[in-house]
């Protein structure tokens, strides 16, 4: 596991909401203006803190969706029905509101050109968010490594960044594979079913190509994908994972 140090102290700051973008019925992108953003690496996250009138506070982590080159910091948040912070961010937050946040946090689940590739990104559901940052960063650079995205979603209506991903594929050369696991349109040309050994053999580079692999999504999704990759012969040290949500075990 290679490492790079990330010095400095993370102080809370107030970010102002300048725009809200509906991504899907359950997710929104929050475009933020910060007085003093130190910059970030593609793939990092932030902590968001909310405060109720009686002083009660709740904190959660959210992946950064914007690339280091972007003017504004963008978070994309999916509403968890039994959640505490995400329903507020998706349903209640308005343009002009302020939210407290600090970051950037993390640094292992991050990509920059010096890490090379070929870059294989595997997303389940809202696990796509840090990959938007990575792919925008990749597209803004020299593109001297290939980039491929495998994105698993329950249905076409739940695909976040659909138009932007199509643009990244057609204009920037990202190799895009979307698989739908629960329902698909009659004329669906993409993949169907979960990301497992069979689909990976079809769409992933072979282990001999030494891809640098990132997998992000619900815990069970990431566990299954990482197991399938290792079983197929990919080097565990080239597989970086980020998980969220319950496991049931």
């Amino acid at each position: 596991m290679a490492r790079t140090a990330l010095p400095g102290r993370l102080t809370w700051q107030l970010a102002r909401v300048v725009e809200l973008v509906d991504e899907t019925a359950r997710s929104k992108s929050i475009v933020l203006e910060l007085p003093d953003w130190p910059g970030h690496s593609a793939g990092q996250h932030v902590d968001v803190r909310l405060t109720a009138e009686d002083g009660y506070q709740a904190q959660r982590s959210y992946s950064i969706a914007s690339s280091p080159e972007d003017e504004h910091l963008v978070l994309t948040v999916e509403r968890l029905e039994d959640g505490e912070v995400s329903p507020y961010l998706v349903d209640e937050l308005r343009t002009g509101d302020e939210v407290e946040l600090r970051g950037p946090i993390g640094g292992y689940f991050a990509w920059e050109a010096s890490l090379g590739g070929p870059l294989l990104l595997i997303a389940g559901g809202s696990g796509i968010v840090p990959f938007r940052s990575m792919l925008r960063h990749w597209a803004a650079g020299e593109r001297d490594t290939m980039a491929r995205l495998v994105y698993s979603s329950r249905a076409i209506g739940e695909v976040i960044y659909r138009e932007e991903l199509m643009r990244l594929a057609t204009e920037d050369g990202v190799e895009l594979h979307i698989t739908l696991t629960r329902e698909w349109p009659d004329d669906w040309q993409g993949h169907r079913g979960r990301v497992g050994r069979t689909l990976l053999e079809e769409v992933a580079w072979p282990p001999a190509a030494h891809p640098l692999i990132y997998a992000c999504g619900p815990s069970g999704f990431v566990e299954a994908v990482a197991e399938a990759l290792v079983a197929a012969g990919h080097e565990p040290g080239r597989i970086r994972t980020e998980r969220f949500g319950p496991t049931g075990t």
């Binding site: 790079t4 993370l10 909310l50 405060t51 904190q59 505490e84 292992y108 566990e223 994972t241």
Partner: protein, 201 residues
């Protein structure tokens, strides 16, 4: 002072004893999994646990030897830096005091190393005196690989990234050497009651 988030009330779950929940944490009944890479699956007949570094002579146990060591059952609250806390978790394992009983050292720190390359650092005083274990059972069952099995470090008074999964050894060191997440900007000690999440907290 944090400004009020307009319209935020929170969905507070009643907690029997709020005094057990550190600042910024929420209680979950679930047991989330976090890891930087794939889950290793080291067969027990290839597993060993080693104490080395600044010691008179390294010691090592094979799996059968390790589980034959005097074990303890521990019920503790655990706190993850990603904000969840889980109360009354029950573990069985060997205390680090037992592992260090016959080890001669002048070291003040240690680095725990795991299958998969993960490391984390601890002051020896955070790992001894009944404050740390190498646990191989959770809830009366063998520890599940996703949760760090066959064996993980258990240091419940610090954020849970210090409780290295898939732990295979402790290297005693005279100086404090930051581990994996500690190098990526996480706090060097990680006391949840002081909310030491990140560098400088």
């Amino acid at each position: 002072m944090s400004p009020i988030s307009r319209g935020f009330t929170g969905r507070r779950r009643p907690v029997a004893d709020p005094g057990r929940v550190p600042p910024g944490q929420y209680v979950t009944d679930d047991f989330p999994v976090l890891s930087a890479g794939p889950t290793p699956h080291t067969p027990l007949d290839e597993w060993s646990f080693t104490i080395n570094g600044a010691v008179e002579g390294p010691v090592s146990w094979r799996w059968e030897e390790f589980i034959a060591l005097p074990a303890e059952t521990i019920t503790v609250d655990i706190h993850c830096v990603t904000k969840w806390s889980k109360l009354d978790t029950s573990w069985r394992g060997v205390s680090v005091d037992t592992l260090l009983a016959d080890v001669e050292t002048e070291a003040d720190y240690l680095t725990a190393s795991s299958d998969g390359g993960y490391t984390t650092n601890l002051a020896l005083e955070d790992a001894t005196d009944g404050r740390a274990w190498v646990a191989y059972e959770y809830g009366g069952e063998p520890l599940h690989p996703e949760h760090g099995g066959p064996a993980r470090l258990l240091v419940p008074h610090l954020y849970f990234w210090k409780s290295a999964k898939w732990v295979r050894g402790l290297t005693l060191t005279p100086d404090d050497e930051p581990g994996f997440w500690e190098t990526y900007g996480y706090h060097n000690r990680g006391d949840p009651w002081l909310e030491q999440r990140y560098q400088g907290d």
